[in-house]
Amino acid sequence: MQFTFTEEQEQFRDMVRRFALEQSPASTVRRLMATDEGFEPALWEQLSRQLGLTALRIPEPYGGSGFSAVELGIVMEEFGRTLLCAPYFSSAVLSTEVILAAGTETDRSALLPGLADGSRRAAFAFTEVSGSRAVDEIDTRATTDGNGRWQVSGSKRFVIDGHTADCLIVTARADDDVGLFLVEDDAGGLLRRPLVTMDATRKLADVDFDGTPAIRIGGPGDCREQIEAALDAASVALAGEMIGGAQTLLDSAVAYAKMRVQFGRTIGSFQAIKHKCADMLLDVESARSAVYAAAGAAAGNHPEAPALACLAKAAASEAYVRTAAETIQIHGGIGFTWENDTHLWFKRAKSSEVLLGDPTWHREKLMQRWGY
């Protein structure tokens, strides 16, 4: 595991940070969260074709740059800082990771180049009605006519950017196996319903399949392990996004506490606020350490990596939610208004807390993965 970043990684972070700060001010976030799509094609174009961020994890033969979880973590953290609105997590993280984990050579050649240059956006549909991410609770079924043509039937919930993606990667049972299936957005029997989300900066959809034509990817066997691996990678990336957001909140809380005067003193000179900020810093820094350790472990194929994915997601979830609540508290009444930006991060914190499994789920999984 690595506990510092290389010079190149720091430069890369600076570049992404500048991009996110310039392209994703709160005013833009507010404008996009009010739309159905939740993102702007122009910005997508910029971050994919110009900056190559969608190609980050994709190996060079498929048009990518072959970077590791560490670099992906940097992008997610910096995007998390500004709540940058784009289908990056759904396409460049979730979908890309599952193809990287499970895709055959044919799948990779067919799918990765489009994801790498951003010309296609995929969404990963893996959650069932139960809301669980567990691969053993999949009810969606895939059947075949024996000539390689498949049909998918069932319902997926909470599909991130599911209503705007060009294609969907769907987990479904094929006999006793859990397989992966590619469904195009214009396929028959496909119904996509955007959801009203608490966190309007991240768009979700419910997706129904009714004999929907699909292509099987990931080969004929069971893909549960690969799906788990992809969700682990996505958990680490999401945890990275979360510490980015938590850091923004902490910065804003501290800045406000230094500026706001009550009773003839800055509120930051009161121990109640001062000590709260110290605890928040400890919280955020601890979660940051967990996230960096998990990303480093993933990048180095460390045997503890799957466990640390759970650890990082649990740590980041708790820290983000606590930091968000305290940031509102420090802002006082103004922090509870729509006008103030804090609630945008608060809602992202709450939605991220339960996305891909809540902290309790991850702690239990962590214990299992540690062999306890």
Partner: protein, 411 residues
């Protein structure tokens, strides 16, 4: 009339003669206000009967049994009424009290400012004396019902050279003028329960100051003390299932009055829904979930019992003081813990909002409303100061806002 039975009989007699569930609301209330039965503890001269609290309770009982509608009793109007009754001149009482009680005039409270939230006495809205009265400039915030209100209870600074608590005065402001601009303020949970009120050379004639110049803080204390007591009143404002056209008028009045508060139960964490939700989702079987629910229920029940202990002590004649802060702090703890338990129980459904989300959006509303409870009406930090200093008698915070307000550091 000292005999409780005589008293009940008098009220019953009066109601038999006067109460009509199909009367017009204002007409009925006018009659009620004149009779003195509407505000039994108030002095006879001012729409009351000078009764004790106990006697008044008996009167209210009889009204409740008969289903008779009372005076307009909720919201800032009530605060205006008690404050004017205590500090007003006869002319002011004459002008305002009656129409508050009949419900004809709605009022709002204009105390908090963007720069003085926890520090209410740090108000910087200015009232400058001009020939025929006062010129008001500045901004207030968190003003419930200000967009409906005919009048406002305004605290403004009339002297910048005095220490901050001494330079404030208390005014009765006519909201219906060009210099007063009301803007609804949307909250992070989507509701708009409050307003911002902007004053640009607004005008208040002489004679509309409550108390003397510089008494603003003292008079505001009367309003605030009664505000704390209002929580209970509000809870009982529903009018039940009676028949009669007057109830429809009351229902509409309540709807307007209660509109800002529809999310308050969610703000408190909806402890009542925890077990139900856990049963519906099947999470009730999970030992971890059971622990979390039990923790919240223990906190919530204990808080209820503490409130009952305080009330019982009060009834025994011991005064209830800053212990109210204990209840407020407990409510914050309960709400936060309940929201976390709801998140745990609801799982991924917590991603949703609006009607698609769990319990018709109630769960989502809990999650985005709970942050308000530890802020509104005095932050948790302020409550802890009050508890430590006034209940436990610990040394006060050193102060940095003494001396002429002009020189006090502020936003």
């Amino acid at each position: 009339m000292n005999d409780p039975e005589d008293l009940r009989q008098s009220v019953t007699d009066w109601l038999e003669e006067n109460w009509d569930p199909d009367a017009k609301l204002v007409e009925w209330r006018s009659k009620l206000v004149d009779s003195g039965w509407g505000m039994p503890t108030w002095p006879e001269r001012w729409y009351g009967r000078g009764l004790s609290g106990e006697q008044a309770a008996a009167v209210l009982d009889v009204f409740a049994e008969a289903g008779a509608v009372g005076v307009a009793s909720g919201g800032p109007g009530r605060l205006a009424a008690v404050t004017i009754l205590e500090h007003g001149t006869d002319a002011q009482k004459e002008k305002y009290l009656r129409r508050i009680l009949t419900g004809e005039d709605l009022w709002c409270q204009l105390f908090s400012e963007p720069g003085s939230g926890s520090d209410l006495a740090g108000a910087t809205t200015r009232a400058d004396r001009i020939d025929d009265g006062w010129r008001i400039n500045g901004q207030k915030v968190w003003n419930t019902s200000a967009h409906h209100a005919r009048y406002g209870l305004l605290v403004a600074r009339t002297d910048w050279d005095l220490p901050k608590h001494q330079g404030l005065s208390y005014f009765l402001l006519d909201m219906d003028q060009e210099g007063v601009n009301v803007k609804q303020l949307k909250q992070m949970n989507g509701h708009a329960s409050f307003n911002e009120v902007f004053f640009t050379d607004a005008f208040i004639p002489h004679g509309e100051m409550l108390g003397q110049e510089g008494d603003g803080w003292k008079v505001a204390m009367t309003t605030l003390a009664n505000e704390r007591r209002m929580a209970d009143v509000l809870r009982n404002a529903s009018s039940g299932e009676r028949r009669g056209s007057i109830y429809e008028e009351v229902r509409r009045e309540n709807e307007v009055l209660m509109a800002p508060y529809t999310w308050y139960p969610q703000r408190a964490g909806r402890v009542d829904l925890l077990v139900k939700r856990a049963q519906e989702t099947g999470r009730i079987q999970d030992p971890v979930v059971r622990q979390e629910i039990a923790k919240v229920l223990i906190m919530a029940r204990s808080a209820e019992w503490t409130a009952k202990r305080a009330r019982a002590a009060q009834q025994q004649g011991r005064p209830q003081g800053p212990e109210g802060s204990l209840g407020k702090l407990a409510a914050s703890n309960v709400a936060r813990a309940a929201a976390q338990a709801h998140t745990l129980i609801t799982g991924a459904d917590a991603l949703l909002s609006g009607e698609q989300s769990a319990e018709n959006g109630i769960i989502a509303e809990i999650l985005v409303s709970v942050p308000a409870i530890s802020i509104a009406g005095g932050t948790d930090e302020i409550q802890r100061n009050i508890i430590a200093e006034r209940v436990l008698g610990m040394e006060k915070e050193p102060r940095f806002d003494q001396g002429p307000f002009r020189d006090v550091r502020r936003n």
